[in-house]
């Protein structure tokens, strides 16, 4: 991995302000209450999804508000994609509900989008999928994500990073209320990751949409993330990422350098998965309702 030697200070500030995460580790997303100032966009209420006999996710609740960045992390097979697909209404939950604000416009950046070479597709045309957008809007969106040069190229000829930017441009052209990003930095090199994160955060500042992001990295998240939700079948823990650059994980990863765009998330797991669902000492299922 190539480390960029830069001393750029943190550009970001924790948008969640003074609020401190409540942690009880009981599997509920109590942090909903803290961001109640923003308008809720999408909400999962006690979702349980079973495939055959196998329970993919159990009793998961999650809310994304306007102007909020929620990062979903968890190990492979934890049910991140299942949860995402349920939120996108691609699968029906076994129990529980998905609520969406009426008329919610979602911009979706899928994890993988392979366009078969048999389909001719230029970036210019791709940006008008599904609905037609005026050419100047398309050009503006492309320059916004720093990919103006790709306008007349075929999508199959783009590099991974370029295509991610084009996917982002297409998603923001829809003027979404909620941007859903499924592992947006996967397969992009380290330098590219921080750049993409900076870009995503800038776009959010410009347009004010909420962001729900899935990340494969259990410890490093986008710095502007308001809330990290760690799931492994159920919500294991959630909270704000740590911005401090003197945490041991951060030092180990970046050798004392401050990396813009990234932050560390400390897991607060007080239960194990070996003998089922155990609760922290202060957990009380009944007292903390969903909002």
């Amino acid at each position: 991995m190539v480390m960029e030697k830069t001393n750029t200070p943190h550009e970001s500030s924790n948008t969640s302000g003074t609020s401190q995460p409540i942690e009880c580790g009981c599997g509920h997303d109590h942090l909903n209450l803290q961001f109640a100032s923003g308008e809720p966009l999408i909400q999962a209420c006690n979702l349980t999804i079973k495939f055959g006999g196998h329970t993919a996710i159990r009793d998961v609740s999650l809310t994304v508000h306007k102007k909020e960045i929620v990062t979903l992390i968890g190990p492979n097979g934890a049910g991140k994609s299942t949860l995402l697909r349920a939120l996108l209404r691609a699968i029906k939950p076994t129990s529980g509900e998905v609520w969406r604000r009426h008329g919610l416009v979602i911009g979706y950046v899928p994890q993988k989008l392979n366009i078969d070479p048999i389909m001719p597709m230029t970036v210019e045309r791709f940006l008008s999928i599904p609905d037609h957008r005026p050419l100047d809007e398309r050009k503006e969106a492309l320059s916004n994500v720093g990919a103006s040069h790709t306008l007349n190229q075929s999508v199959q000829s783009l590099s991974g990073g370029e295509f991610q930017r084009v996917l982002l441009a297409r998603a923001i052209l829809r003027k979404p209320d909620l941007l859903v990003l499924d592992e947006p930095v996967q397969g992009v090199d380290f330098q590219g990751q921080t750049e993409l994160y900076k870009l995503i955060s800038r776009l959010k500042e410009q347009s004010g949409f909420g962001i729900l992001m899935v990340s494969h990295d259990l410890h490093i998240v986008m710095a502007e993330t308001d809330r990290v939700v760690c799931i492994n079948g159920h919500v294991c823990c959630s909270g704000a990422p740590t911005q401090v650059s003197d945490s041991p994980e951060y030092l180990a990863l970046f050798g004392g350098q401050t990396k813009p765009g990234l932050a560390v998330y400390h897991h607060l797991h007080d239960h194990t998965h070996d003998d089922g669902h155990q609760h922290g000492p202060d957990c009380d299922h009944t007292s903390q309702g969903e909002q």
């Binding site: 979706y108 078969d116 230029t122």
Partner: protein, 271 residues
């Protein structure tokens, strides 16, 4: 050169089918549904058999059967035990076999099986042409209505769903369109060669296009040119008309490949 009426009717019928087969064939190619198209085409013969057996209009019978088989395939595809190509193979050949058995049992009728299998475009009547253009226009309206949504879900189904496209509706309408086009194309090339009418012009058009819409238009043009060329050839050399059209398509396809690579070389040399 003066052409007989039957020949002009054949050209009109063939070009009509080629125009709608172009854009529809592009989707068959993009969505990797060549075998699906083949299955529907085979089932069209079942429509003929049922139409003769029950005494209703054959074109209506073909469209109805093709739609039914399409829905059946979609239904069965949700089960995971049989691979999709196995399922399609079973459907295609069982419907072909059943229809041949039924046609054999229909004593009183002298059914010209070859004309159903390979088409008999030189025998199309004015009524057939009405069917072809009527069905073709309906198919074209349906296809242009679902075009952008179908394109989105061809690229990424989940993305289309996430962004609010009614995937089931669009897929169903697409299958209805395929069924209609198969029913009208059957008169031109017959059940065994229908798929070629869909996929060869589309495949040939790929090289000359940069957007999906371009590919659709170019596929229609290539299809129409091969219909005219194939029919002229069939007249000149006294060869069967349906297969001659397909041969013309393949000739254009290969010609396009050679011309395309020649063009590439010239561009590279000049750079």
């Amino acid at each position: 050169m003066v052409f007989e009426d039957f020949f002009l009717r054949a050209i009109a019928a063939g070009v009509g089918v080629a125009i709608i087969a172009g854009p529809l064939g592009c989707f068959v190619v993009w969505r990797r549904m060549a075998y699906f198209g083949d299955t529907l085409a085979h089932s069209a013969l079942l429509g003929v058999a049922l139409g003769l057996l029950l005494g209703f209009n054959l074109t209506v019978g073909i469209i109805a059967t093709a739609i039914m088989i399409a829905l059946l395939v979609t239904l069965f595809q949700h089960q995971k035990r049989l691979a999709s190509d196995t399922l399609l193979g079973i459907m295609a050949h069982s419907s072909l076999a059943i229809s041949l058995v039924v046609l054999g049992l229909l004593q009183g009728f002298r059914v010209d099986l070859l004309s159903y299998l390979f088409g008999d475009v030189l025998a199309v009547t004015l009524e057939d042409i009405y069917w072809i253009y009527g069905g073709g226009i309906i198919a074209m309206i349906l296809l242009s209505w679902i075009w952008k949504d179908l394109l989105a879900l061809t690229l990424h189904e989940e993305l289309a769903r996430a962004e609010g496209i009614n995937v089931t509706l669009v897929q169903t309408l697409f299958m209805v369109t395929v069924a209609i086009v198969i029913a009208i194309a059957m008169k031109v090339v017959g059940v065994l060669l229908i798929t070629s009418l869909l996929i060869i012009p589309a495949a040939a058009a790929r090289r000359f296009s940069t957007t999906p819409e371009q590919m659709a238009v170019i596929a229609s043009i290539i299809g129409a040119v091969s219909v005219i060329g194939g029919l002229m050839g069939s007249l000149h050399w006294d060869t069967p008309s349906g297969p001659s059209i397909v041969v013309a398509q393949v000739t254009l396809f290969i010609g396009g490949l050679l011309f395309g690579s020649l063009l590439n070389k010239m561009v590279k040399r000049s750079v």
